[in-house]
Symmetry: C2
Subunit: 340 residues, 2 copies
DNA sequence: CTGAAAGCGCTTACAG
DNA sequence: CTGAAAGCGCTTACAG
């Protein structure tokens, strides 16, 4: 690497002090003669000078950098959120670090430390659910916006969805289509808020439906494996011969895909054997066999909104993001998997 | 934010100089008394001192940070590569900046400038194809590894796939299944190497097949829109009534999905109306209707390999990554879309 | 094995 | 409108 041109070189060549160059770099043109401004512009152009962001950050304690910590980068849900974050940040000149905690609280807290050491200006976190205390403290020091998953303590800014509404839409849809038995499939809830909320919502709604003789059940999967799902399917869909009209709801995209694969392996036909609703309207949910009725989450918007809230706080010089909890509405998209 | 504890504070509290603390931080234990090491360890622990990476980077010109510039973060292909990069980097303590150029050469070059200003240690780029010269020069200054797409000039390290092999597998498969007319669907090739290579490969292979009376055609899509694809399908699949046995190959995942959607809208039945092979074995290609025969690319491995090559160079103190061009093999996965 | 000192490339009151 | 000077928090020869 050839020797870097520093601000000193530009100052020398322009016949002004480094302070003035710095002012120019920071767009403080009001306090500067037009002639000097023009001169500096020329010199910078001709020397091909590029400011060193690391030095600027060290001095100004502003890095124009945001840490994004995702619990599972493989989930299309996370990617859509990431895209929302990326675009919102790029629009304001912020660059993002991307970390993948893989649902490990230990990794998550390590990443938080690393990002702190890199002096990021703020955090967008889709938390594992295992660092509530750490994140609450973090949010006291530096702007933090949570996406998709909330934490149980502290007043931390979050953007998520109305999970009760989501499950409600799914349950209502099933009942309208004549189901008299409902089963909810969920990944292990741990301390992950949307999972807890969805299971809770289902409990509440199932209790209401029970009054009208609707049966219900809940299955939690510690690990999402096709075989495990197939096994459970075998158990609950055996009812199809008993004249029961079964409706199955899966509470996230990964699990929805697993149900589709398990059904295929086990030879179940959807919607003949059971109606099925998944979560997350991925780009492929309209071309599966059958096409998938889903609860669609505004993923892009979740990411973009969170990033914008964070940056709004940053631009106002706040030490923390507005601790407001936003809950965006979801939508049911009816397709063939619930065709009666 | 409470005042940061600096190395000076630790030095004071430990009764040594900042130089010694710095040595400790950098693991230079050989040149240090065991007693001092232990003492420093204690002090750092009790003060909760965290080194400032920005300052370290400014001084040492090493940021332990790598820029990843993706041409389309929405493509599952990119995500899988990103995952490979992320894991390889995390394994060596490197953090990644993620930039999405959205196939815009202008954005791509802007991102390169930004990342340079942030003093990243290296670049992993899935290029738009519009900055060959810039990237070639870049690679002379700093380690660069290209993923998926190569550039036409300069000796730059790259990890991609054997595209001739991929198309060859697809064409052979079609012929074995009795096709006598082959059509290749490709997004606009621009200067994107795998697209060019795939179209070229098809040309070569189609010419060979022509000797045996096999017909062939190529359609390039400027923009991938369902309607445009449906229109082309209408034109070429009209042949199905002429007793011709048609095989269609789409050269990337996004386009494959579009073909599936277009076929559905237009009422074409795959594989009855035509056989179909897509590129990229996404997690959902086994549950589409019909399940998809694909050319599977080792996406995770592409990313991981590129990142490891880059880091290997970095660790050896090289200014540039080994300018070797790696081409990984692809695989054909046969499913229902080519069932005869 | 350890320290004093210079310096990485900027920004920021302060003074004029 | 502009400059001199201090300093952000480290690392690195150099010297002992």
């Amino acid at each position: 690497m050839k020797k870097q041109i520093a601000i000193r070189d530009v100052a020398l060549a322009s016949g002004v002090s480094t302070a003035t160059i710095s002012r120019y770099l920071n767009g403080k043109f009001q306090s500067m003669g037009e002639d000097t401004r023009l001169r500096i512009e020329k010199v910078i152009e001709s020397m091909g000078y590029k400011p060193n962001d690391v030095a600027r950050t060290l001095r100004s304690t502003k890095s124009n950098t945001i840490a994004v910590i995702l619990s599972d980068i493989l989930n299309p849900y996370s990617i859509a959120i990431l895209q929302g974050i990326e675009e919102a940040c790029a629009g304001f000149g912020y660059t993002i670090f991307v970390c993948n905690s893989k649902e490990s609280p230990a990794k998550e807290s390590q990443f938080i430390e690393m990002m702190l050491a890199k002096r990021v200006d703020g955090f967008v976190i889709n938390t594992t659910g295992g660092n509530d205390e750490l994140i609450a403290k973090l949010a006291d020091e530096i702007p933090v916006a949570l996406v998709g998953r909330k934490i149980s303590q502290g007043a931390v800014c979050s953007v998520s969805v109305d999970n009760f509404q989501g499950v409600n839409l799914a349950v209502d849809h099933m009942l309208q289509r004549g189901c008299d038995s409902l089963v909810l499939l969920s990944p292990a809830t741990h301390h992950i808020s949307p999972r807890i909320e969805r299971v809770e919502a289902f409990r509440t709604l199932a209790a209401r439906a029970a009054v009208n003789g609707i049966q219900s059940d809940i299955h939690i999967f510690e690990k999402i494996q096709i075989e495990a799902v197939a096994e459970v399917l075998e158990k609950i869909a055996g009812r199809r011969f008993s004249g029961v009209r079964l409706g199955i709801i899966a509470t996230n995209g990964i699990l929805s895909l697993a149900v589709l694969k398990a059904a295929k392996i086990s030879g179940y036909i959807i919607p003949a054997d059971f109606l099925f609703i998944g979560f997350d309207d991925t780009e492929w949910s309209s071309v599966t066999n059958p096409s998938l009725t889903v609860i669609s989450q505004p993923t892009y918007q979740i990411g973009a909104t969170a990033a914008k809230k964070l940056i709004a706080g940053l631009l106002n010089g706040h030490k923390k993001a507005e601790p407001e909890c936003l809950e965006l509405p979801v939508q049911l998209i009816a397709r063939d998997s619930t065709l009666r």
